[in-house]
Each structure stands twice: as C-alpha cells, then as structure tokens.
Amino acid sequence: MIKEVFNKPTKWSVMKSLILKDIDDLIIGSMGIVAFISFFIGGVVAIQTALNLTNPLIPKSLIAFATRQSVILEFAPTFISIIMAGRAGSYITSSIGTMRVTEQIDALEVMGVNAINYLIFPKIVAFTLYPFVIAISMFLGIMGGWLAGVYGGFVGSDQFLEGIQTDFIPFHVFYAFLKTFVFGMLLATIPSFHGFYMKGGALEVGKASTTSFVWTSVVIITVNYIITQLLLS
C-alpha cells in the first residue's frame, strides 16, 4: 500500500486542495480537544507531584521539573497520539470505509485514479504537521501545570519557572519530536489501511474503526517503547 501511495500521483492542482482539506480536518480540527486535554493533564500532573512531595528537603521547583519531563517526554507525544488515534484515526477509517461500501473507491479506480494516492497521500502530508500540534500540547501542558501549581498554592511562580529550566536536556525535545513524527505517520497510515481494505457494509465500517483504533494504539505504544529503548537507554 505504501508503495502505491507514492505511485502515479494525482494532479497537483487537485492534490493541493485535498491536502488543505485534510490539514483542516485532521490537524486544525483536532486542536480543540488536544488543547483541552493537554492543559488539564498538565495541571493534574503538577497537583499529583505536589501532593506526593511530603519531604520538606525536596525543593518545590521539582513540581515544575516533573511536570515538564512528564509532559514533554510522554504525555504530549504518546498520550495525545492515543487520543488522536480515537479522534483522527476513527475519522479516517470511517470516511474511507464509507467510500468503500458506497462504491466511491470503485468509482475512482474505474476512472483511472490511483485511489490510494488520492485518499491517503494527503493524510500523510497533513500529518507531517503533527509535531506542531504536539508542540502546542507541550506548551499548554506546562501552562496547565503552572496555573494549577501556582493558583492551587502548591508552588510559587518563581519556583515553577526555576523548575522548568532545571537540568533541561535539548535531546529530550528532539526525542519527543522524532517519535511524534513517527506516530504521525502511523496515525495517517494504519487507519487508512483499515478503511481502504475493509469489506462489508455499514456495520463493518464501525467495526473497522474500532479495530483501527485498537491497532493504532497498540502500534504506537510498541513503537514508543522501541524508540525510547533505542534513544534514551
């Protein structure tokens, strides 16, 4: 399937509008839920860390340090990708699957259109912007932690700002964005595969969406482990 995605490309004038539509549907359309979850998860991480710091010898700035590390390393790239597997992945599978059951994909193929390129390539291109979503998620997660920590009375603003700069390793950001990019490609291709090759009717479209979500999540978690093992251990 991947080979066919890049074979016999669709006319650029048509492809351009498909890419813009998919960026709107998959990336911009997901921003609301991503922002909401990131902000509150960041806040929860900060509160949980604060409540577990019972030893007075441990500096309060550790709350910010833990929030930063958790959000940048795991919550933003991996947790949000699992959410995206449900939000964007199910949308991709059900929209392509519906096209399959209503013979729209057959119509494309009969016309001589490379249906795989036409339907999947724009989604892959759209997901190259996925790291921007995760960058925003990281920022909002830390913001959420800061607001929850400061306004919840767990840590001072100065201490929090000090904490998020403590022991900062730029390679961690590279690692986070590298895996985000890989997750983006998985989010574009696995749901597309399940939608494109599904068989049956409307009921099977629903089943394919569920299967696609499960598989995308499983692969993301597994790949997350492999990348972490390779880059951080």
């Binding site: 013979e103 729209q104 057959d106 119509a107 001589g112």
Partner: protein
C-alpha cells in the same frame, strides 16, 4: 466495440463466469440480464478491470486489456464512464464538483471551461439549479442523473451502467432509460447496462445477453426476446405477475385469431 472471448472467473471454488463470449456494439445499448447471482455484476466488474479474468480476453476497439501496460490501462479507464448502482457520488463534493471531477483530474481545462462543460452536461441530463446541492440533498433519480452526467462529461467511448433503475419509481426509470439510450446514440458510445428490469429490457435492449449460472444462455434483441422459446428466458421474462398476465392475454388473443382463421378456412 467491446469484444469478450471465452472469459472465466472464479472466486475460490465457485466458478462465477464460465466461458462467456460476445460483442458489445458501438452506438447501441447492450444489456446484460439474468437473475440475481447469475454473474452479471462480476461480468461488468471484469469488463471494467476491477476483477481480472482467470481465462479469456477482453478487447476495447482492438486493445486487449490484459496486454496493456499499467499506464495504458489507466489511460483506457479515462475513456470509460460508469454509472454505479448506488450512484457512487462523492459525498464531500456538491453536484457541480462531482461532475467536474473527471475534467479536473484528466484534462487541462481551466475554471470557466470546466464550469461551462459541467453546465452543458447537467442541462443534457435535465438537471438544472442543483449545482451547489450535495448528494444527500437530492433525490435518487437526481443522483442517477448526476452519475450519468459525471460518466459522460469527459466524452467517454464506453459507458457502463450497473442497474441504473434500482430504487427508482417506474416513471423515473423510463426517463433514465431514455436518457441513456439518447446519450448512447448522440455520442456514439458503446453502452453496457447490467439490469434485471424488464421494462428496460423491452425499452432499450438493442442487444441483450442473458446469463444463467455464469453461462451465456441466450443472445438477441428486445423484439426477439418476446418470441423466443428458450425456457429459461421465458421463465425469467414472465416471472412477474404483470408480465404473466400480459402473456396470458396475448396467448388468448393468438388463440382467438387462430380459431377465427380456422372458421374462415372451414367456411
């Protein structure tokens, strides 16, 4: 002209098409008829290249499909228009964009030119003032018209229709049949229609092939189909109550005429 020679197609152990040979002529409405499960849809999908035949050949005006390169096949497909059973209009596009799709994909035409051509074909299929409606906002008959408009917009040489009347009321069915026949003659294209609608068979069946269990059982025209004594055809044609009654009254008329002739001779 589309010529098929001895095509066979199986799915697993089930042989669906068993050595079918025929020709579909240009400028005529060629009909494939038969009961459900007789192999009609598989045959049309095989002609379209969606299924590859296990044996035999399909040639489009001398171009044997199986011998064409990948690019030649794609190029040939741009000469094909297809009207699917469920219309298969793109949900995300309005009527105008659906019809314009083949032009945007395969021609170098630009905005105004595309719009003019789209309006021309929409007018041809008697569909005006629906350009900006989406498929779910128009009736089944209108969707079929849009599908026909999309199929003919790029001047195809071959037009395939899979049960174009399914889900339509008898009046709209007749209009769609007439439209397909007019377009076939006007554009001089080879039209192949897959149907089990007897009204269509009688109305536009300039050439008919009857499939039974994957075998071509009979071939002829809409005039010949009413006169044939082929048992399978008779059973198929007169399977509906309406046609049964028409046939009985025709037979009664024949009988009366025969009696009158005998009386005249005796006198």
């Amino acid at each position: 002209m589309i010529e098929i020679k001895d095509i066979e197609k199986s799915f697993g152990d089930t042989k669906v098409l068993k050595g079918i040979s025929t020709t579909f002529e240009t400028g005529k409405t060629n009909l494939i008829i038969g009961r459900s499960g007789s192999g009609k849809t598989v045959m049309i999908k095989t002609l379209l290249g969606i299924h590859a035949p296990d044996k035999g050949s399909i040639s489009f005006d001398g171009r044997i499909y199986s011998k064409l390169t990948r690019d030649e096949k794609r190029s040939l497909r741009t000469e094909i228009g297809m009207v699917f059973q469920g219309s298969a209009l793109f949900d995300s596009m309005n009527v105008e964009d659906n019809v314009a799709f083949p032009l945007k994909m395969f021609t170098n035409k630009r905005g105004r030119e595309i719009k003019d051509r789209v309006n021309e074909v929409l007018e041809r299929v008697n569909l005006v003032d629906a350009n900006y409606k989406f498929p779910n906002e128009i009736s089944g008959g209108m969707q079929k018209r849009v599908a026909i408009a999309r199929a003919i917009v790029n001047n195809p040489k071959y037009l395939f229709c899979d049960e174009p009347n399914s889900g339509l009321d008898p009046e709209t069915s007749i209009l769609i049949d007439e439209l397909i026949q007019e377009i076939t003659r006007e554009y001089d294209i080879t039209t192949v229609i897959n149907t089990h609608d007897m009204n269509s068979v009688l109305q536009i069946g300039e050439k008919i092939i009857f499939l039974k269990n994957g075998i071509k059982e009979w071939e002829g025209t809409n005039e010949q189909i009413l006169e044939t004594r082929n048992k399978s055809i008779v059973e198929f044609v007169y399977s509906s109550e309406l046609f049964k009654k028409v046939r009985e009254s025709l037979l009664e008329e024949d009988e009366e005429e025969r009696k009158q002739d005998l009386n005249i001779k005796e006198e």
